[in-house]
Amino acid sequence: MPNIIYKDVIKKFEGKEIVTALKGVSFEIKQGELFCLLGPSGCGKTTLLRISAGLETLTSGKIFYGEKDITSIPPFRRNIGMVFQSFALYPHMNVFENVAYGLRVRKKPENIIKKKVTEIMELVGLPDVLRRNPSPTALSGGQQQRIAIARALVYDPEILLLDEPLASLDAKLRRYMRSEIRRIQKATNITTIYVTHDQEEAMAIGDRLAVMNVGLAEQIGSSDQIYQNPINMFVANFIGKMNFFSGAIKEVKGDNYNIQLGYNQKVLDLSIKLSPDKKKYISKGKNIILGSRPEKLIISSNQEGGLLPGRIQIIQHLGKVVRYEIRPQWDSVSKLIEVDRDEKLPEAKEGDMVYINFDKTDTLLFSEKGKV
């Protein structure tokens, strides 16, 4: 199984006006890795996948499968497998013929075809379907999904591409199928690209992921790395939720930062470790943005120790956590602040005032332009 290398991939769509879907993407997907392309619609993730498949040509740049430059090789010579969002099963063929399609294209003998199809159907967990061998249109969404995967894997492609494969399934089936996909991928150890706009799905399934935005790969890493250390405000808010507050640096002492909040001039001390290259962004007098995950903010009903006042707008009981949506009382246009607590705050009802404080060791700093 080869790795995949993108070198400065640029894609422009020429229509009435030129749309640049990819603005120079370079990264590597490792051998046998399940790699997620994640981003909002229009970020270029599907374009990058279709370029990897050869269904779109690129304007400039290069793509390698291992040592091989496949930039101008047409899709039917690339030896890849792909699962489409609509599954794209052939309605005029039965399940067996659907799965066997790639083997027939490769002119394999009948006994090999039979053996391989049976094996792959077992791998995707549908060995019994072959007995009745119905038309795929008669099957459930989950079964169709598995057949689409079986069809893409049966001829041992070098690379597997998945284009929002779970988007057309309902929520419960989606959770189940994503662990199935991961199981099948690990069993075959095939280098896989998985496109999704659902950050939870990407974090759950991917070995690593690339967060894409407006034609660029903003950050690449494991889901944990990206969640803990988002490179900028976009990534921070796309991978999980993040609350932002403006402020300015008053003093820097080693890893200790003395920060004045932008709204009420109150001061807080943070003690966080920043890598040297990030540290150079931070200096005395600079305006910065504080970022805090909902579970890292602290709220209390009494004013003591609280820095920012807010009014509880809605209390949502989400099972594991209780979510408070708080209307800031320092700035009339600010977004609602989200705070998650393991337990309910006693005595606080919707409409009550609460006071927000920060986690001294677990708050992120962003420069005003958005980067750390």
């Binding site: 899709p75 039917f76 794209a88």
Partner: protein, 570 residues
């Protein structure tokens, strides 16, 4: 270094898949030679006098000046206008209520009404014309009966010849377009919209006026233009019923047949095409401003009107229209078994009209079948390829191809013949009087049918199906053979059958292009009518009708919905 680059380039090019380019360039070539060139050259000839060379020095407007100087030209133009607009008006007045009743009122035999409704479309228009001569001619039985009633108040119905007869027959012939399209629109208009108006307190009349009619208006516009184009281009009906009243198609025929003046015919063709283009433009302007996107996807079934009064009106109305529409078919069946039908009842029962067919018409039947079958197959191939190119390849000049293919759809058949005759009666490709020129005219004229049908199948076909085949490792040809073709096959068949059944009855193109050797059945029927030989004309028409009916019935059996819906556009 340079050699390496070249080598790399050649290797890369060799790896590409060139089959599509080779296969797909053939239709372009055909279109250019047999459509663009003839149309272009006949436009040129229109500005040159008969017998002169095509050059700048010879340019003249004399062919067009006749529209200002000749009263025959002026009358033809006026007649064409008058007839086309009246036919559109009457088909709308009669067809829309029928569409509404069948779609929205609870009544029996709806399926039957819908399938009988398409009968006039698959009946050759000129058959309708001469059967009305039998019924409403000077001695026609129906005319006599009506005159007995009208005579009481001192009125009398004129014989069917002339403008009245042309408008009457064309209205009945083209009524199905309005009926079927408005029925479809009334049925598919989202009932939730009407229900929400009802909940807000609107009366039935108000809903009909402010919700329902605006929603079906685009379909009515489409139906009107379809009827207008056909009424403008119909040759058979005015040829049989017109007498000394000419319309543009018969005027063209007169120019060519009487004077072999192709240049003059080209000029008249241009005028009639311009009228059609203006009509389409106006329709587009008016309708596109009133076309609505469906906002919600939720929908429910229409509640049918069950009031006894409305039901009775609907049933009586639909039966009356059906009876009148089916009168021609019944008449020719009766007529085909008799020697003559002058006065109240047909006289002289005989089977001779049928017995004589092998003797006098076997060549025409053979020609018709041969031409219709081969031309349909060619059209299927051609239309499918062109639809595939414009839908899937989306080449840079795609709009041009789309336009070129659809042009013959709005061109009167006789105009296509004039274009082909001006270009191919002499010169590099001299094929006038051969089967080939007929075949070409058929393919050119009917490609829109297959094209539309296949294009519709292709738009419904998820591109991912073909992409996934490519990804799997199949080249273009393999993908087309195994995935695309089987899935668009119903669309191809529907378009081809429609083509076949209309080609069997084709008269307006054939009338200028046939020769003694290539005479077809419709030509023979037309000649029999012209000779007053109604018995034989009827037996041949019955044969034609039965053939078409069987083919269409078989297609309906195998394809179901796809088939009947394709007739709405045909």
């Amino acid at each position: 270094m340079i050699i390496n680059t070249i080598k790399e380039f050649i290797l890369r090019e060799l790896k590409k898949d060139y089959t599509p380019y080779l296969i797909l360039s053939l239709p372009m070539l055909f279109l250019i030679i047999f459509l663009v060139w003839p149309l272009g050259s006949s436009i040129g000839k229109a500005f040159i006098l008969r017998g002169q060379e095509l050059s700048f020095d010879n340019i003249s407007f004399a062919n067009f000046q006749r529209f200002f100087t000749s009263s025959m030209y002026q009358r033809s133009l006026r007649n064409s206008f008058l007839i086309s607009f009246s036919v559109v008006f009457f088909t709308l007045i009669i067809g829309v209520p029928m569409g509404y009743f069948v779609a929205r009122v609870e009544m029996p035999f709806k399926k039957l009404i819908l399938s009988l409704g398409i009968l006039p479309i698959i009946t050759p228009a000129f058959v309708g014309a001469f059967s009305w001569v039998i019924l409403l001619g000077k001695q026609g039985i129906v005319r006599h009966l009506i005159n007995v009633v009208l005579g009481l108040v001192g009125l009398s119905l004129p014989p069917i010849y002339g403008l009245f007869g042309i408008i009457f027959t064309m209205t009945l012939t083209y009524l199905p377009f309005v009926f079927l399209l408005s029925h479809g629109a009334f049925q598919s208009a989202n009932p939730l919209l009407e229900e929400s108006a009802m909940i807000m307190g609107a009366s039935q009349n108000r809903i009909l006026r402010t919700i329902t009619m605006p929603l079906v208006l685009p379909s009515l516009g489409a139906a009107s233009i379809l009827v207008f184009i056909r009424a403008m281009g119909n040759f058979g009906i005015p040829a049989i019923l017109g007498g000394n009243q000419y319309v543009l198609p018969t005027l063209i025929y007169f120019r060519v047949n009487g004077f072999w003046d192709l240049n003059g015919a080209a000029a008249i063709s241009i005028i009639s095409v311009i009228i059609v283009i203006i009509a389409i433009t106006i329709q587009k302007k008016v309708i596109s401003a009133r076309e609505y996107e469906t906002i919600s996807t939720a929908s429910s079934e229409h509640k049918l009107n069950k009031s006894p009064l409305v039901k009775t009106i609907a049933i009586v109305y639909c039966s009356l229209i059906l009876l009148v529409s089916l009168a021609p078919q019944i008449t020719i069946i009766v007529m085909s078994f008799f020697k003559q039908w002058i006065g109240f009842l047909p006289e002289g029962f005989t089977l001779e009209n049928y017995q004589i067919i092998p003797q006098i018409a076997s060549k025409a039947i053979r020609n018709s079948l041969f031409l219709a079958i081969t031309a349909s197959l060619l059209t299927a191939l051609f239309g499918t390829l062109v639809a595939y190119i414009t839908e899937r390849r989306r080449p840079k000049g795609g709009i041009f191809i789309d336009f070129a293919v659809m042009t013959p759809f709005v061109l009167p058949g006789i105009v296509v013949s004039v274009a082909l005759l001006t270009t191919f009666s002499s010169g590099a490709i001299a094929i006038s009087g051969t089967f080939l020129i007929l075949m070409i005219s058929f393919v050119i004229r009917r490609t829109p049918y297959v094209f539309r049908s296949v294009a519709a199948s292709l738009t419904q076909l998820d591109v991912a199906l073909e992409e996934s085949s490519t990804i799997t490792g199949a080249n273009w040809y393999y993908t087309f053979r195994k995935v695309t073709f089987p899935l668009i096959l119903p669309g191809i068949i529907a378009g081809t059958i429609l083509t076949f059944s209309t080609l069997l009855q084709e008269l307006s193109t054939t009338i200028l292009l046939y020769s003694a050797r290539t005479k077809t059945m419709p030509i023979q029927i037309y000649n029999a009518v012209a000779d007053g030989n109604f018995g034989i004309a009827s037996s041949l028409s019955v044969l034609l009708l039965v053939t078409v009916f069987i083919v269409v019935y078989l297609m309906n059996l195998f394809l179901g919905e796809t088939a009947s819906s394709s007739f709405k556009l045909g």
